[in-house]
């Protein structure tokens, strides 16, 4: 009934048109830089903006490793760090979530408060504070420090992904398993884990995405022994003066990969809610 009222008054449809146009104008501005990178990843011109004919040359250069070993090494480092950090965060965060779920009162609020800090802290503060920690403790910086840093900002998100699962769970099932003679370890593996699995997987994917996406924290904790991840490599390259042409296909691939991961996370979330 409401709709029929609106179609009668032409000023509403004009408003709708303006609203739609506004949204699309914003979207075009938001996506045009990304589109330009993606379009010009299919031409070999050195300077962005010159079109020297369609070619997948940059992609084959990139994927065959012909560009340089540094870039390939950076990609390997990024993936290695992300997989290790996401896996450790998922284990640590899941066990922590079970613990926090069983905590009460002041203790619970203290842990929850500490768990919130990494999510609220700006990257640069997280990075500098960890840098100072490693300096103060005399730990030399490299893979280990970057991974520890990534675990510290990924785990809170795992805790947040697993918590809702725990709240939905029937606590008696675990007790029942114990009563029926399962050891706590067996009860954990056969009863708790299967119920928490979906939360853990979401947490892992989220951590993985956050880790490959990170720039600031990595920059401060990677040390100066030449360890580079993709973002620090891109940063160093861009600072040397402009983008290497091969970064265009690389950035296109990264954007597509992140979008794909997000679609997966959202689909999972939707399925869980049903």
């Amino acid at each position: 009934m409401k709709d029929s009222v609106q179609t009668k008054t032409p000023c509403f449809s004009l408003g709708k048109l303006v609203a739609k146009a506004y949204l699309w104008a914003l979207l075009i501005i938001l996506y045009s830089p990304i589109l330009i990178i993606a379009i010009f990843s299919f031409t070999e011109a050195k300077v962005l903006g010159n079109w020297t004919g369609f070619s997948t040359g940059l992609y084959t250069n990139l994927l065959s490793g012909g560009v340089n070993n540094m870039l390939i090494k950076a990609i390997e480092n990024t993936l290695l760090i992300a997989v290790v950090a996401a896996t450790v965060s998922t284990l640590l965060g899941t066990i922590a979530a079970i613990g926090i779920h069983n905590l009460h009162g002041r203790r619970k609020s203290v842990v929850t408060f500490l768990n919130d800090i990494p999510m609220l802290n700006p990257d640069i503060i997280t990075g500098i504070s960890l840098f100072i920690l490693f300096v103060a403790l005399g730990i030399s910086q490299g893979y280990m420090t970057v991974i520890l840093a990534h675990i510290s900002f990924c785990t809170p998100y795992v805790v947040l992904s697993v918590m809702p699962r725990l709240k939905q769970m029937n606590p008696n099932i675990y007790e029942a398993a114990l009563d029926l003679g399962a050891t706590p370890m067996q009860a954990l593996r056969k009863v708790l884990m299967p119920q928490l699995k979906s939360g853990m997987i979401s947490g892992w994917i989220l951590s993985f995405t956050l880790s490959i996406d990170d720039f600031a924290v990595t920059l401060f904790t990677k040390g100066n022994a030449g360890l580079e991840t993709l973002s620090t490599y891109i940063y160093a390259d861009a600072r040397k003066g402009g983008l290497t042409p091969e970064l265009r296909p690389l950035m296109t691939i990264i954007i597509l990969a992140v979008l794909l991961l997000l679609v997966v996370i959202n689909l999972r979330k939707k399925k869980e809610n049903e």
Binding site: A19, L30, I95, I117, I125, A136, I151, I255
Partner: protein, 258 residues
Amino acid sequence: MNKRSTWALPYFIFLLVFVALPLILIGVYAFQDDFGNFTFSQFMKFAQEEETINTFTYSIEIALINTVLCLLLGYPAAYILSNRKLNRSSVTVMLFILPMWINMLIRTLATVALFDFVSAPLDEGALIFGMVYNFLPFMIYPIYNVMQKMDHSYLEAAEDLGANPLQVFRKVVIPLSMPGVTSGIMMVFMPTISTFAISELLTLNKVKLFGTTIQENINNGMWNYGACLALIMLIIIGCTMLYSDEGSAEEGEKGGLI
């Protein structure tokens, strides 16, 4: 009652070492000289260094401009997106939120590419464009979230009681969406004030922001001074958070899950 509460212990210790202790150390280093003696000299140095003070105020200025622009552009967008009469597709919403998840550095370099492409100069204008471009989704998302959960019977009640659309917007929609606006401002202002690297890339090193000053000091081994500047930034961020404490902190989570 049960022993499983002890399972939080390993993570609690981890949090103490890698979250609490590092923040405390920033405070400790800020009040030390090169030999580890207690001193206020780092703060005196900050107060006397005209260039750093200028960078500091300029950064706050840029962060304010960016926040205002994001709010002016983002609020109507969030309103349209959440209004079922104007937008029914969840895909459009998703399109606005997706860029939040693309690496900030990549988005910045893409902006540089755009400016190169239309051969616009990389100066302060580019910096502000790049900032707004980077942070607009962070303004739209929380406002959209709040508006979407808004009880529409209030709007209908206002209409039924004779308010015209402008009055409904001014007297009902805006007040009800304030929590979203507060967290949007937080999600834009706080990261803008703490950005580094972005300004160098967007302006070819012509413009420097406070984050870059901190980074340079840390890189050059001036850890105590760097920690002092980081502490100043932390205090500003803490104040912003306290100020907007009533704005629901829940909306502050990184978005993308629709």
